[in-house]
């Protein structure tokens, strides 16, 4: 196992990881520029641009630390750079853990096994990196056609698109929230408290016209949900 980690943490993997980090940073900066250029035409004032950026920043802190904490468990198995490339960026914990497990089993071993040859790590790397290109290829090739379909719907009836966007968000998060909340009673408490506090903050922000609260709402709701979920573990 130590031998494996020496390879997985060697300089070439750090170089690969730096290049991938570089691509993601470059893309984020390019899209910030694209959005900034088109902001006035999309009806966003300079002040609203700052607001949107601040809301994105505040809301991303909780999720980012959530990702780091999940990532720690895999660093011990496949080393820092591969974990950084696959879970931190590109994929997510769920898909990449299954890719790692499938890759290892196709070599006839399992993650963390005492007898774990370099070739098994290689099998995992192949499965993770090539398996992950599926999403990238589909998005690269077909986002344009999805955009054209949207344009057609928008032209025939703009209200349909607004409802589809709202319904898609509600459907996805209703499912994700349900799935999490049935895990344990504490998860249910965390989810419900986050939901209720979010609704209260949004109503308060609308009623009193407190625009900063909308920027902070997701961050606050996260802290409230996580704190009550954790505290409830001492009671139940």
């Amino acid at each position: 196992m130590r031998h494996i980690l020496q390879i997985a943490n060697s300089a070439p993997f750090w170089i690969f990881a730096s290049i991938i980090v570089g691509i993601v940073v470059f893309q984020a900066l390019i899209f910030l520029w694209i959005a900034k250029k088109s902001a006035p035409d999309a009806g966003l004032s300079d002040k609203e641009v700052t607001t949107a950026i601040r809301a994105g920043f505040i809301s991303s802190i909780g999720p980012s630390f959530g990702i780091v904490i999940v990532l720690v468990s895999l660093i011990a198995l496949i080393g820092s750079p591969i974990t950084l490339m696959r879970i931190g960026i590109i994929g997510s914990a769920a898909t990449e853990s299954s890719a790692a497990a499938i890759g290892a089993s196709s070599f006839g071993t399992e993650l963390g096994a005492s007898d774990f040859p370099v070739e098994a790590l290689s099998a995992i790397v192949w499965t993770m990196f090539l398996g992950g290109t599926g999403w990238l290829l589909f998005v690269m090739l077909f986002t344009k056609s999805m955009g054209k379909t949207q344009e057609k719907i928008q032209k025939s009836n703009p209200k349909i698109m607004a409802n589809v966007a709202l319904a898609a968000m509600l459907g996805a998060f209703a499912y994700l929230a349900s799935e999490q909340m049935v895990t344990s009673f504490n998860h249910t408490i965390a989810g419900i408290l986050a939901l209720v506090s979010m609704i209260s903050m949004m109503m308060l922000a609308d009623k009193r016209n407190i625009s900063w609260l909308k920027e902070w709402a997701l961050g606050f709701a996260l802290v409230i949900g996580m704190a009550t979920g954790y505290i409830s573990t001492f009671i139940i």
């Binding site: 470059f26 390019i30 899209f31 910030l32 088109s38 609203e48 607001t51 949107a52 950026i53 994105g56 920043f57 505040i58 809301s59 991303s60 999720p63 980012s64 630390f65 959530g66 990702i67 780091v68 591969i82 490339m85 931190g88 590109i90 196709s106 290689s122 192949w126 499965t127 990196f129 398996g131 290109t133 599926g134 998005v139 690269m140 986002t143 955009g147 949207q150 209200k159 607004a162 589809v164 966007a165 319904a167 898609a168 968000m169 509600l170 459907g171 998060f173 209703a174 499912y175 929230a177 349900s178 989810g191 986050a194 609704i199 949004m202 920027e215 409230i224 996580m226 979920g229 954790y230």
Partner: protein, 236 residues
């Protein structure tokens, strides 16, 4: 004289309209170009680590093992390559799709940050304003995530031991909190649709269906239900 002035007045109206359409068209054109370009570079880059392991480190696991791993992975998760981009497209839009699928962690980071930015500037779901605001949210989230990851991964296990146990315990509840909060954010203006989505989500969660298509099914059914109700109300 009067003939020419009339003529110019008539000419300017469609011209400004065309110019307005063009600037948003430029937004899409730039998004497609840079989105596809960055994805292509990333796809090419994804071949580097596996090729390096097989042919430079000489740790080739054998094509049979690689094929078995990829087929195993594709048969298990391959449907998500297509379903996920389509499911999240209505919320992410063109630019958001390019950003989110490159930077990963879509449900637990990109979508929440996109929606937080949209809500902070009071953008209607599905509108161009929402799409551009969402780009700011996701791009900033992507940069924050990378900054947090790089610091934590380079700082290594040492920084992670600095996180007190109660914070780590609270982070067990980060996912139900994120998902509950985002659900609340979208449900508060149309609570009955939120309830409908939750009911559909719960039914699908406990139905004996292949688990990976559940979320797409929930989105499809919620869209159908909401469009049907809006149509019945005569709104669309």
């Amino acid at each position: 004289m009067s003939y020419t002035t009339d003529n110019t007045v008539e000419m300017t109206a469609p011209q400004t309209e065309a110019a307005e359409k063009n600037t948003i068209d430029i937004f899409y054109k730039r998004s497609h170009f840079w989105g596809r370009f960055t994805l292509l570079v990333l796809i090419i880059m994804c071949f580097a680590p596996p090729l390096y392991m097989s042919f430079i480190l000489d740790a080739h696991p054998g094509w049979g093992v690689i094929a078995a791993g990829l087929v195993g992975y594709a048969s298990f998760i391959g449907i998500m390559w297509v379903l996920e981009p389509i499911t999240y497209y209505p919320t992410l839009g063109v630019a958001g799709t390019y950003l989110a699928f490159l930077t990963g962690n879509i449900a637990n980071m990109c979508l929440p940050c996109s929606s937080a930015a949209q809500k902070a500037v009071n953008a209607e779901p599905g509108s161009t304003k929402a799409e551009v605001a969402g780009v700011f949210g996701i791009a900033v989230a992507s940069l924050t995530n990378i900054a947090v990851l790089v610091v934590m991964v380079i700082g290594g296990t040492y920084l992670i031991t600095l996180i007190p146990p109660y914070i780590e315990g609270a982070f067990n509840f980060v996912l139900p909190s994120i998902f509950g909060a985002v659900l609340g954010q979208f449900a508060y203006k149309t609570p009955q649709y939120g309830v409908i989505a939750l009911v559909i989500g719960m039914i699908i969660l406990f139905s004996p269906i292949f688990s990976l298509i559940k979320i797409a099914l929930c989105v499809a059914l919620t869209i159908t239900a909401i469009l049907f109700m809006e149509k019945k109300k005569g709104n669309i």
